[in-house]
């Protein structure tokens, strides 16, 4: 006991090496904050640019990282899975900052605090992904959530944004409470908070009901963060109310981090009670896919539609986790990567949708005739819609293929069939957008697309279309490596 309390595994600066990416991001963010405060005549665009560079530098440091390690007396872990998910989080955050540059002013985000808060939220997500202890899990989760609550409500004079921020805050606090309650029960019944040691305290035969209770609460708390049904209520309102760049960020990075947490907690901590959490994940998955497919049909607002779409995609990703195998975790990793890419592309398009006088387009009906006025954007958006449905040979198909394959390998045929049916239903609302863009008469002019949005759209479009021949193989290999390290 004495040695555990008095000693630390940090003896020199070099022994911090596994945490260098986090340290760089944390120190860089604080320095950037000070620069922005003291440099009175700064422009928020420049600060956002530096923030993107910082994210790229962190990404480079992450990729160059040598081996796996457990640090800070077991609360922080770096393994292949953590690196993979962190790369997704950083990539998502950098791209979202990039696409929010052109429309920051109209969304009330042209303050340097926006970039700083996004960086701090990203830091929180990295801590979440690397959490090897229920305590570091919670600290990371709160760091990202708190930053996101503020960002959601940043457009203060907009009543919808304020409502979104408040709603997100209250429900987020509720979910944190549930997660903490579950964590305390798990600690009480296993005697440890360390994720990779909890598994040693549980055996399938003599699991206590209290532990299962704690696990259910823990998973419910995380399910709030990935907005899986029945914990999805906040998602449509928050996505609709928050400024569009913020919505894009919500839909991309935090989902990846929370999903990584979900996978790590279930696959590592509760490995010996797989049967017990499997039923929960299967239920969450079926409910999310089903509800999203039918609820999105009635939506006219593009952001609300994307909210339901993201709920549905979380359901599909959970199909992979339902299998409870390494193949399943690999499926989730691939799914999240493709999901982030498609989300970035979709929101790049959404941010570029403006009428000629510059007012943003938010409803599906206003997209009428886009293909005639802006054929490039319409084509990319149509491709992304087809990919979100999961039509071959686009990336979305391979994502779904991987997770359904994992489910079928484990004999979860009913789940796979329900998943395929849900994607068939969801095709309706995705295709409706394509129909409006291509076959309806234009009613107004559309504004030109900013250069960086066009570049992002072209890049995402290229990756989505040529997924099988370009990034498909390396991505699957990386995901397999990541899942294998769990």
């Amino acid at each position: 006991m004495q040695s555990a309390i008095t000693s630390s595994d940090i003896t020199s600066f070099a022994s911090l090496a596994p945490a260098y990416p986090e340290l760089l991001l944390a120190v860089g963010t604080v320095v950037l904050l000070l620069i922005a405060l003291f440099w009175k005549s700064h422009r928020s665009g420049v600060i956002a640019g530096v923030a993107i560079v910082l994210l790229i530098a962190t990404f480079a440091l992450l990729v160059m990282q040598p081996g796996d390690a457990v640090l800070f007396n077991g609360v922080f872990i770096v393994d292949g899975f953590a690196r993979y998910m962190k790369a997704l989080v950083l990539g998502g955050a950098a791209f979202i900052l990039l696409i929010s540059l052109s429309s920051a002013r109209e969304h009330g985000l042209d303050k340097f605090e926006y970039s700083i808060l996004i960086l701090l939220a990203t830091l929180g997500m990295m801590v979440m992904v690397s959490a090897n202890d229920l305590m570091s899990l919670y600290v990371g989760l709160e760091l990202q959530s708190l930053a996101l609550y503020v960002v959601a409500a940043m457009k203060r004079d907009d009543s919808k944004a304020t409502e979104a921020g408040l709603k997100y805050f209250v429900l987020g606090a509720l979910s944190s409470g549930m997660l903490l309650y579950g964590a305390s029960l798990v600690y009480g019944f296993t005697g440890t908070t360390q994720i990779d040691q909890i598994v040693n305290a549980i055996t399938a035969e003599n699991r206590s009901i209290g532990l299962i209770f704690g696990m259910v609460f823990l998973l419910a708390g995380i399910a709030f963060k990935i907005s899986a049904v029945p914990f999805h209520m906040w998602t449509p309102d928050v996505y609709e109310g928050a400024p569009t760049p913020v919505t894009a960020f919500f839909a991309a990075a935090p989902k990846v981090a929370a999903m990584a947490l979900f996978v790590r907690v279930t696959m590592v901590s509760f490995e010996s009670v797989t049967r017990d959490w499997q039923q929960i994940v299967i239920f969450l998955s079926i409910a999310s896919m089903g509800l999203a497919a039918f609820a999105a049909i009635g939506q006219n607002n593009l952001k609300r539609l994307m909210a339901y779409s993201s709920i549905g995609h979380v359901g599909f990703a959970l199909v992979g986790l339902s299998a409870g195998t390494i193949t399943g975790a690999e499926g989730v990793a691939v799914y999240m990567a493709i999901y982030v890419a498609m989300t970035v592309g979709v929101f790049a398009c959404l941010l570029s949708f403006k009428t000629a006088d510059g007012s943003p387009i938010e409803t599906i009906g206003e997209l009428a005739g886009l293909s005639r006025k802006r054929p490039f954007v319409a084509a990319i958006f149509a491709i992304l819609m087809f990919s979100l449905i999961g039509l071959p040979p686009l990336a979305g198909f391979f994502a779904k293929w991987q997770v359904f394959l994992a489910a079928i390998e484990q004999g979860l045929f009913v789940l796979a069939v329900i998943g395929v049916l849900a994607s068939a239903v969801s095709a309706f609302y995705y295709l409706r957008i394509v129909k409006v863009m291509y076959f309806d008469e234009p009613t107004h002019e559309f504004a030109a697309v900013p250069a960086e949005l066009g570049a992002v759209m072209a890049g995402v479009g290229f990756v989505v279309v040529t997924y099988f021949v370009t990034v498909g193989a390396p991505l699957t290999a990386a995901a397999a490596l990541a899942a294998g390290s769990l």
Partner: protein, 202 residues
């Protein structure tokens, strides 16, 4: 009677008596002063139990900050305490019933509470031998859990930025004092010489 025992009784008697005076005294300011006395005596009890860090933190945080804040609040707020107490007898019966129920529940819990037999063996000692508890707490917070400590610091930074972003408004059209601007003013920009023609006014 040993010296520690003597001090234990001194501290606890004063603590209980002043705690009683907190709710019994008529003047709210006196109540707060008795509260401070209770804190000081409780801190003495902590000191006797060997928890010197808790004892000092009680003085520094509770007496130094919280109680003084209470004092300010009670002095600033104009509350008519005589009027507040007017319904005391009227509500006393229901108060007594609620109190009795809580007491009964407490007794039930305490009566059926049993410690596991191995608990004394695995119970954590306050600190390893030879390490005073301030140092032990420091080693836990700043050595063993330094990552979580820094993480909590980052959460507080976010809270601070958030509070400023969401509430600070830069009003336009407010004239602020700028000392450098004031002292750097030259005669040329401060004084204007106007030639007024006779009989015309300005």
């Amino acid at each position: 009677m040993t010296l520690p025992l003597f001090f234990f009784y001194v501290f606890s008697v004063i603590a209980v008596a002043s705690a009683l005076m907190v709710i019994a005294s008529r003047n709210p300011v006196h109540s707060v002063l008795f509260l401070i006395l209770t804190f000081v005596n409780a801190s003495g009890l902590f000191m006797l139990a060997g928890a010197e860090f808790l004892a000092l933190i009680l003085i520094v945080v509770y007496v130094g900050a919280v109680a003084v804040l209470f004092l300010f609040v009670t002095m600033m707020l104009d509350v008519d305490f005589a009027e507040m107490r007017s319904g005391l007898l009227q509500y006393a019966p229901i108060g007594i019933v609620v109190g009795a129920i809580i007491l009964l529940e407490l007794l039930l819990v305490a009566g059926s509470f049993a410690l596991a037999p191995e608990v004394t063996a695995i119970a954590m000692v306050p600190a390893p031998d030879g390490i005073e508890n301030t140092r032990a707490l420091g080693q836990l917070l700043y050595t063993r859990y330094v990552f979580l400590f820094q993480g909590a610091g980052a959460v507080l930074l976010v809270a601070m930025i958030g509070a400023i972003v969401l509430t600070l408004r830069h009003k336009t059209g407010v004239k602020r004092q700028d000392v450098f601007h004031q002292t750097g003013r030259s005669r040329a920009e401060g004084v204007e010489l106007v030639k007024v023609k006779s009989g015309q006014g300005l």
